[in-house]
């Protein structure tokens, strides 16, 4: 990790008007930075499973176009019907495996590690793994995103940020708040179905990691011993970076996927038992900054 401080903004701007204060602040910044640099740790590399297949769910023009584009790019594609309409035909695209008569019911997971529950033609259920998922418009409305089988489906954002509307994180058009979950035909975008389908395919191809994921140094980790399993963090995290597991005592505990965590820290400030904290910029660190700045 690195330790940085903004000398230009914090010191140089005072140099002419308040030279003594500038020197004071310069000393403070440098001393604190050096002290903190002594505590820096090396980045851990989170272990994570990756699957590079894309699942396309739906048979609209945009969805078929996504499947075709990815297939032509040489990527492996699974094609399923949506919850309401089983897949009618196996299209003649390279690298695209259509499961005729299949109907995807629900999915869970995030980029690199989705699991899709599919009703197959023979009347049995099968779970498929995929690295990215593209949803046709009808599938988007009917499929359940179920991160935890024992809990109700999770709503995900797919509309773009709008002024004064809270709760929608930033993402590019066609993407959703779940990394790796992409819409073939995002509502409110005025382009042809074919262009939207192609765009979704390119998005899916580009979310796949090109090398091992690195911890970014500012992610959150949850102390399993302190976690009381209330579920607040899992609800507030827009990126589904937090998954929920049952412990031996019969209730839940939360785990952060460091590859997905963007480090916003909202889970920290709503955790009732100090279980969630950033290992690098933790409560103690911020308390110390406050003390040093106010000293």
């Amino acid at each position: 990790m690195a330790e940085t401080c903004n000398l230009r903004g914090e010191v140089l701007s005072l140099l002419h008007s308040h030279p003594d204060l500038a020197l004071d602040r310069f000393k403070g910044l440098i001393e604190r930075s050096i002290k903190r640099a002594g505590l820096l740790k090396s980045f851990p590399t989170p272990a994570r499973q990756y699957n590079f297949t894309t699942a396309v769910i739906g048979q609209s023009e945009a969805a078929m176009r996504s499947a075709q584009t990815l297939g032509l790019l040489g990527m492996e594609v699974f094609l399923f019907g949506g919850p309401a309409k089983p897949l009618a035909d196996q299209p003649d695209y390279p690298n695209v495996h259509g499961f005729v008569g299949s109907s995807a019911k629900s999915l869970k997971g995030t980029v690199g590690d989705f699991r899709i529950v599919v009703d197959m033609e023979g009347g049995f259920q099968q779970v498929f793994q995929a690295g990215a998922v593209i949803l046709g418009e009808r599938a988007r409305r009917t499929i359940a995103y179920m991160p935890h089988p024992d809990m109700p489906p999770h709503e995900f954002s797919y509309s773009m940020q709008t002024r004064d509307v809270k709760g929608i994180p930033f993402f590019v058009p066609g993407a959703t708040s779940i990394p790796g979950l992409i819409l073939a035909s995002p509502p409110g975008v005025n382009l042809s179905e074919r262009i939207k389908g192609t765009t979704a395919a390119i998005l899916a191809a580009s979310v796949m990691p090109r090398g091992p994921r690195q911890n970014k140094g500012y992610t959150v980790s949850i102390d399993a011993g302190l976690c009381r399993g209330c579920g607040r963090c899992a609800n507030i995290c827009p990126y589904r970076a937090i998954s929920f597991h049952r412990n031996s005592l019969g209730y839940g505990y939360a785990v952060v996927d460091e590859a997905l965590c963007k480090g916003c820290g909202n889970c920290i400030s709503i955790c009732p038992s100090n279980a969630a904290d950033s290992p690098f910029r933790d409560q103690f660190f911020l308390e110390q900054i406050i003390e040093e700045v106010l000293a």
Partner: protein, 529 residues
């Protein structure tokens, strides 16, 4: 430095930071009192950090984030606004002035508006003046920890331990599955191990509920031993085991500042009759702070206990005095190892109460009661007034006759507060009243009275997955009785058990309505005959 006002600006890394850098780069006149702390998102800053700034000596705190609808992470603005609202409520109760804390949001190109805002904020803080909070700088322990520990062990009879293990077989922490044993701790400290990480951690895991003392054949006062060991550890700088990131400890230490114009009672409903010339004082406790802090999460109403307690007093034609500058009794500071600030709070409270010419203090809070009756005298603070628990007073008044209770169509069970059930007669006191109620059924839980299980936390320390397991166990016991109302007699029991009910997996299995005994009494009491 040309002025000594101190303002902390918590600045989100995204939109407003871009605006802030423009201010710096254009050498715009940024108020020098403002010190910026860069953060990843305005939703990152906990209530405890917002408050910590005030405890540490800030005169104003601004949390600046992104305009609604532009938060990079979606949730930040909402979380930040809630945290600020709750913390402002606390500042208001403390009489610090809620305007000292503010939330604002900007777009990246709004350098001009951000600068105007910061200047305006500085000017407003200037009008409010310096904060009356006296920052606390922890002192380093002077005495030798080993000698100190030896005397603590002697004071609380640790050396008389017979190693029988009755404590560990009853200890709710041990029974929750946590590797924790009072007997093991006693053995270790007798053998001279005070400093191993395991012992240090154990000292903060204990609930100090006192069940072990009930069982101990040699009267080893384990909870008080733990309490004093915490004081040693705290002084040595060990022990960051405070729950809620230490918010409540910060709050209590802050309340020890003499200059605060606390507004403890300004929320009281108008129908309550009080009399500032009365020789009887009703001491409420920290419920208003609890309700404010937990407003957005637990939605508890522990101030109802205070209102209902006053209604009960009014019912008996008692119109007590209230102390506007009432501070925390300090119980939780003492029991989490901060004796120094406990003493400050205790002296302030006793001084204020004495100045009012009070002869009797009535309280409905088991912790305040225990602090006044036991801890104040034991720590050398004399209380020149009588202290009565509300239940004692009610029992006395009912004894005079002509009082009965309306029917209440509920099946109830009772959660004993440790600090009441383990003082002499405390457990019978609650039960006498419970048995007077006209409820459909009153069924005791498996563990009851002096053998009752703790609600899971004490003095805002040691909250973890095991305390949750303990609480689930307790709530299951309550459910087993077939009751549909869990009666408690301490605001903390309500807070902790309500928190445990927040569970996506268990849900309805452990959810149960709760009500304080004081409230049931006040709502069903009536004149008869």
């Amino acid at each position: 430095m040309e002025n000594d006002l101190k303002i902390i600006l918590f600045l989100c890394n995204w939109s407003p930071h871009a605006a802030f850098q423009t201010i710096q780069d254009t050498l715009a006149p940024l108020p020098l009192e403002i010190r910026m702390v860069r953060i990843p998102c305005s939703g990152r800053i906990t209530k405890s950090l917002l408050f910590k700034a005030f405890e540490t000596g800030a005169d104003g705190v601004a949390l600046v984030g992104c305009e609604p609808g532009t938060c990079r992470y979606g949730a930040g603005t909402t979380v930040a606004e809630r945290n600020v609202e709750d913390t402002r409520g606390i500042l208001k109760l403390l009489g610090l002035g809620e305007e000292r804390l503010d939330f604002a949001a900007f777009y990246p190109d709004q350098a001009g508006s951000l600068l105007e805002y910061l200047i305006r904020f500085r000017d407003r803080i200037r009008e409010l003046g310096k904060s009356p909070v006296e920052p606390v700088h922890p002192k380093k322990e002077v005495a030798e920890p080993r000698e100190l520990t030896a005397s603590i062990m002697a004071n609380h009879n640790i050396y008389t331990c017979q190693d029988c293990g009755k404590c560990s077989s009853a200890c709710p922490v041990a029974l929750s599955g946590k590797p924790f044993s009072p007997r093991g701790i006693a053995n270790a400290v007798i053998a001279g191990d005070f400093e191993s990480p395991a012992i240090q951690q154990d000292i903060w895991s204990c609930l100090t509920c006192g069940l072990c003392y009930e069982r101990c054949p040699s009267a080893v006062s384990f909870p008080e031993f733990i309490r004093d060991m915490r004081t040693v550890q705290k002084a040595a700088g060990n022990g960051r085991f405070e729950a809620h990131e230490g918010f409540f400890h910060s709050l209590m230490r802050t309340m020890a500042s003499q200059g605060l114009r606390i507004q403890h009672w300004n929320w009281l409903p108008p129908e309550i009759r009080t009399d500032q010339n009365s020789k009887t004082l009703f001491f409420g406790g920290c419920a208003p702070y609890f309700d404010t802090f937990f407003r957005h999460h637990l939605g508890i109403h522990t101030t109802d206990i205070l209102t209902d307690a006053l209604k009960l007093l009014n019912f008996f034609d008692i119109f007590p005095a209230l102390m506007e500058g009432e501070r925390c009794c300090g119980h939780d500071l003492l029991w989490s190892g901060d004796r120094e600030n406990f003493l400050k709070l205790a002296r302030l409270n006793v001084e204020l109460i004495s100045d009012m010419g009070i002869e009797e203090v009535v309280t409905a809070c088991p912790e305040c009661y225990r602090a006044f009756v036991r801890d104040y005298p034991a720590q050398g603070i004399e209380t020149p007034f009588r202290v009565t628990h509300l239940f004692e007073l009610v029992e006395n008044e009912i004894g005079k006759g002509a009082v009965g209770f309306e029917k209440l169509n509920r099946k109830i069970t009772f959660q004993d507060p440790c600090r009441l059930s383990r003082v002499e007669g405390g457990s019978e006191l609650s039960r006498n009243l419970l048995n007077r109620l006209q409820v459909r059924a009153f069924t005791e839980m498996r563990d009851r009275g002096p053998s009752s299980l703790c609600c899971g936390n004490c003095a805002w320390t040691g909250c973890d997955s095991y305390s949750k397991a303990m609480q689930i166990n307790r709530l299951r016991q309550a459910k087993e009785t077939g009751s549909n109302l869990l009666v408690t007699a301490c605001p903390k029991c309500q807070i902790h058990l309500k928190c445990a009910m927040e569970d996506p997996f268990l849900g309805d299995e452990i959810r149960m309505e709760m009500l304080d005994l004081t409230s049931i009494l006040a709502r069903t009491i009536q004149w008869e005959g």
